[in-house]
């Protein structure tokens, strides 16, 4: 295994699950971490030191809303000192003329700013926060005025899919250099809200056309990352570039995961930075080795010519849809369980049901 073991490239640091927004497609797990379990500043600093030592190049400070953590500027400054490329993934509702200059001064390289929609009423319906859109627009203005590179992130779903052309125009007007037009991925909250979020094939086709048109119109000015809903694909996505190959996710309480949905995987111990070193976890922990490479693969993956391209697709999706994390991703048309995907798409309700919002459970009174 050591011969083929790569060094991780990228660290997603989920500093907290606290967030002022309640998006029903949130990538956080259904069981949100209370504040009292969060890693301390010193623990995060140790994580950054270890990550840089192992060859991580970029650290993405995410959440929840990472700006809920008062120590964010200190963590950014430390990461910059280690030569890590620092990216802030934020809703922008806490980014203002007081908080942003501190991050600039700390050496932050880049901001990815999320929008729920370009239409204010629907954006605030989906995010569950009145007044959020104005704050986000102000955040974008401050970032562009500073000159720091800005990526806008739009998650696409049934209700906003028709407005992709306006989103792309708005990205240019806001001074963004990159934009992500990312269809919802159906794990956790997104899976729980799948009937409300899944676009129709016609909607998907229109968003694809809008992206292709904007790539021509804004060539050299705007880079567009386009992520399609894999339910409509024939082949699965190479989830995280392969399990334990490039990517490390660290949860607010320090659990180390190959992807942000991996806590759904049963019958395995989740390693954490409070008990083990990041290097050992990456190299040897049962969680990181269980689906690394191709040895674990069942048929049809094992003899498939795509096995080192898509790495069998997504383990969490195999678990969620086929009931087995070691199955071929049902998205693949060659998968034994592919009919489950077909059935989901055939039985989408004509009228979307109401959202199940991402909220802390009653037992947790620490949202803030």
């Amino acid at each position: 295994m050591t011969d083929t073991l790569l060094s991780p490239m990228s660290l997603l640091a989920e500093l907290t699950h606290r967030c002022p927004l309640q998006c029903p497609y949130c990538s956080n797990p259904l069981a949100l971490e209370p504040r009292r379990n969060e890693l301390t500043t010193a623990e995060w600093i140790s994580v950054l030191d270890q990550a840089a030592e192992m060859g991580v190049l970029q650290v993405h400070f995410s959440g929840g809303e990472p700006m809920s953590r008062p120590d964010l500027p200190e963590l950014v400054r430390h990461a910059v000192g280690l030569g890590l490329y620092t990216n802030l993934i934020t809703s922008g509702v806490l980014l203002n003329e007081k908080t942003f200059p501190v991050l600039v001064e700390a050496g932050l390289d880049h901001v990815q700013l999320s929008f729920q929609d370009i239409d204010t009423a629907n954006a605030e319906h989906v995010g569950g926060m009145k007044g959020a859109q104005a704050r986000k627009l102000e955040a974008a203005r401050l970032i562009a005025a500073d000159g720091m590179p800005l990526t806008l992130n739009f998650v696409i779903y049934r209700e906003n899919a028709a407005r992709v052309p306006q989103m792309l125009d708005a990205a240019v007007e806001m001074g963004a250099r990159r934009v992500e037009i990312a269809h919802t991925q159906y794990y956790g909250w997104g899976l729980a809200n799948r009937d409300a979020l899944m676009p129709t094939p016609a909607q998907l086709e229109l968003t694809t056309q809008a992206v292709e048109a904007a790539r021509v119109k804004y060539a050299g000015r705007l880079t567009i990352d386009y992520v399609t809903p894999d339910y409509y694909a024939d082949r699965p996505k190479p989830c995280m570039g392969g399990w334990g190959r490039r990517f490390i996710n660290i949860s607010p309480s320090g659990r180390v995961l190959p992807c942000h949905a991996a806590e759904t995987i049963p019958n395995v111990t989740f390693p954490d930075v409070r008990h083990d070193t990041l290097a050992w976890i990456w190299r040897e922990s049962p969680l990181f080795t269980m689906f690394r490479g191709t040895d674990w693969m069942p048929q049809p993956c094992r003899s498939c010519d795509q096995r080192e391209k898509d790495w069998g697709g997504c383990r969490c999706q195999a678990l969620a849809l086929a009931g087995d994390a070691a199955a071929t991703d049902p998205v693949c048309s060659r998968a034994p369980d592919h009919d489950r995907i077909v059935k989901v798409l055939e039985t989408l309700p004509a009228e979307p049901p109401p959202f199940r919002y991402r909220r802390y459970t009653r037992a947790t009174d620490e949202v803030g």
């Binding site: 060094s7 060859g55 190049l57 060539a219």
Partner: protein
């Protein structure tokens, strides 16, 4: 969208983009928003000369002298490469 490149254009990295040596993998990388990519060895030599003060002409002259190659040949290649990197939002002129 590409501004025409002149000999006296000062070449800089776009804000948020840099050339960095990756000690663990022992190679040069371009760090950019949400991605890192590997320049080929020739591109790395060019990018090492991008310091925010050198002009295109100075970069070409430096390379020509360093590799004992004709200025017009080097100049054409570097022009193409830098134009491409400007279009990819890595460099600005």
């Amino acid at each position: 969208m590409t501004a025409s490149l002149a000999e006296d254009s000062i070449i800089r990295f776009a804000r948020g983009v840099r050339l960095q040596h990756d000690r663990v993998r022992e190679r040069w990388i371009i760090q950019a928003p949400e991605r890192a990519f590997i320049p080929d060895p020739v591109a790395a030599e060019v990018l090492k000369l991008v310091d925010g003060t050198r002009t295109l002409g100075q970069i070409v002259a430096e390379l020509a002298s360093r590799f004992a190659a004709p200025v017009d040949v080097i100049g054409r290649d570097v022009h193409v490469m830098i134009t491409d990197l400007i279009n990819r939002q890595v460099l600005v002129a």
